[in-house]
């Protein structure tokens, strides 16, 4: 019943690639930031926290426009990257991944931060008395105990990334095969006569992906609780 055309497949696969790359690249930064926000007190912490959450409340078109201004070919950072390192984000699928990464970052960080905050710090002290240097404590105690939260954050971030529309289309436009994700393909289709059936198929695909991600995130959260109780 779901017969997908090659163009639709292209959009789906591109969406998956963009969301996977965005999530994988964002994860190490997300873990580092979650740890920083959960554990450290420093000057400007609340400002940093607000900046991270900004994409959640800003109109996506604003975030996309800001990305274009800074990382576009004529942007301050983008010009430098293109000139000296040959890295271009604007109107490329990598730019779509970047936009999705930025937009999904608050959702990715939040469960990670909560799971790090929930860890009993006395366990980390115990690890230290057993001879573990701080970085070893992080990798052998903190991170394994936070792992379900880390995975939940990745799943949520992925789900957000795969559905991102506003910032992506503003930053990298809507080029089939390069930057046309599921969302922008749906947007194009509903503006085309006779596009309803194709749009409907893609709508079903996005619902399935989003539901799957939410169920997975819920499952990881349950695992986190079990893990902390040592069962």
């Amino acid at each position: 019943m779901l017969e997908l055309s090659p163009a639709e497949w292209t959009a789906i696969l591109l969406s998956l690639r963009v969301a996977v790359i965005a999530t994988l690249v964002a994860t190490p930064f997300g873990i580092a930031l979650a740890w920083l926000l959960a554990r450290k007190d420093f000057w400007g912490k609340s400002v940093l926290d607000a900046v991270v959450h900004l994409p959640l409340v800003l109109p996506p078109v604003v975030t996309g426009y800001l990305l274009l201004l800074t990382l576009g070919r004529k942007g301050l950072v983008g010009g430098f990257l293109a000139e000296y390192l040959g890295i271009v984000f604007a109107f490329r699928w990598t730019g779509a991944a970047l936009a999705c990464g930025v937009m999904s970052f608050p959702l990715l960080v939040r469960p990670m931060r909560l799971s790090i905050e929930a860890i009993d710090r006395r366990l980390e002290q115990a690890a230290e008395t057993l001879g573990a240097a701080p970085w070893k404590v992080f990798f052998t105690v903190t991170l394994p105990l936070a792992l379900p939260g880390v995975l939940a954050g990745m799943v949520l971030g992925f789900a957000k990334a795969i559905g991102e529309f506003g910032a992506t289309i503003t930053f990298v436009s809507n080029i089939p095969g390069e930057t046309q994700t599921i969302s922008s393909a749906i947007y194009s289709l509903i503006q085309t006569p006779d596009g309803d059936a194709a749009a409907g198929r893609l709508v079903i695909i996005s619902i399935v992906l989003a539901m799957g991600a939410l169920i997975a995130a819920e499952w990881f959260a349950r695992r986190a609780t079990q893990r902390l109780h040592g069962n």
Partner: protein, 220 residues
């Protein structure tokens, strides 16, 4: 083997303790709030004295005048907490092996077996901490601390969270440990009977001050 001469201000509470001990088991005795745990945490390096020195086994681990503060993980101490603090994501065998791995020590199967036998925890190795009784947890915590080959073992009310029956179950293990394990201990307790059985020397703390120091007979 243990020399302590420290001062520490904790809010309204001031702690000031000086003692030197060669004893095999130093009993740190006092009511709750006397400063016992703070003192042990300072020996462990988890808390930093405002002023003073701590010397373990000839090594100065704290000397505020000289700016020395050896971090906890380099003090080569073992610490058994009242609440065991086993790692919930590791099974008993992995918990026991943790200190050896962190200190990159070579496996020592003979000692491993000796301590597992001494504490009777061989049957628990595959279990997760969540599936252990309070007494079992405390025995595993003891084994975990000992297997990191510490030069000083700190025990902060290790029986405090157990009911009377369980206490009587663990006490013989502690006596065996004292007589066979060959690791000097600092044993914190507010229970006179426990200390009579275990300690060879007593440091009595009252409201942050050492009020008496000597053999077990000071516990009267």
């Amino acid at each position: 083997m243990l020399r302590v001469d420290i001062e520490k201000q904790l809010g309204e509470f001031s702690l000031s303790a000086t003692f030197t001990s060669e004893g095999r088991v130093i009993g740190l005795f006092g009511a709750s709030g006397a400063g016992k745990s703070s003192l042990v945490n300072m020996i462990a390096g988890l808390l930093r004295p405002d002023r003073g020195t701590i010397v373990i086994d000839g090594e100065t681990v704290d000397d505020t005048a000289a700016g020395i503060h050896v971090p906890t993980y380099r003090r080569r101490i073992g610490y058994v907490f009242q609440d065991a603090r086993l790692f919930p994501h590791l099974n008993v065998a992995q918990n026991l092996d943790y200190g050896r791995r962190m200190n990159s020590l070579a496996p020592d199967p003979a000692q491993h077996k000796r301590i597992i036998d001494l504490l009777d925890i061989g049957a628990l190795l595959d279990r997760r901490p969540g599936k252990l009784s309070g007494g079992e947890r405390q025995r595993v915590a003891l084994g975990r601390a000992l297997l990191s080959k510490p030069r000083l073992l700190l025990l902060d009310e290790p029986l405090g969270a157990l009911d009377e029956g369980r206490k009587l179950e663990i006490l013989p293990y502690l006596v065996r440990l004292r007589d066979e394990a060959n690791v000097p201990m600092v044993y914190v307790s507010h229970d006179v009977a426990e200390l009579r059985q275990l300690a060879t020397q007593i440091v009595m703390l009252k409201q942050g001050r050492v009020t008496s120091f000597g053999g077990v007979k000071v516990l009267t």
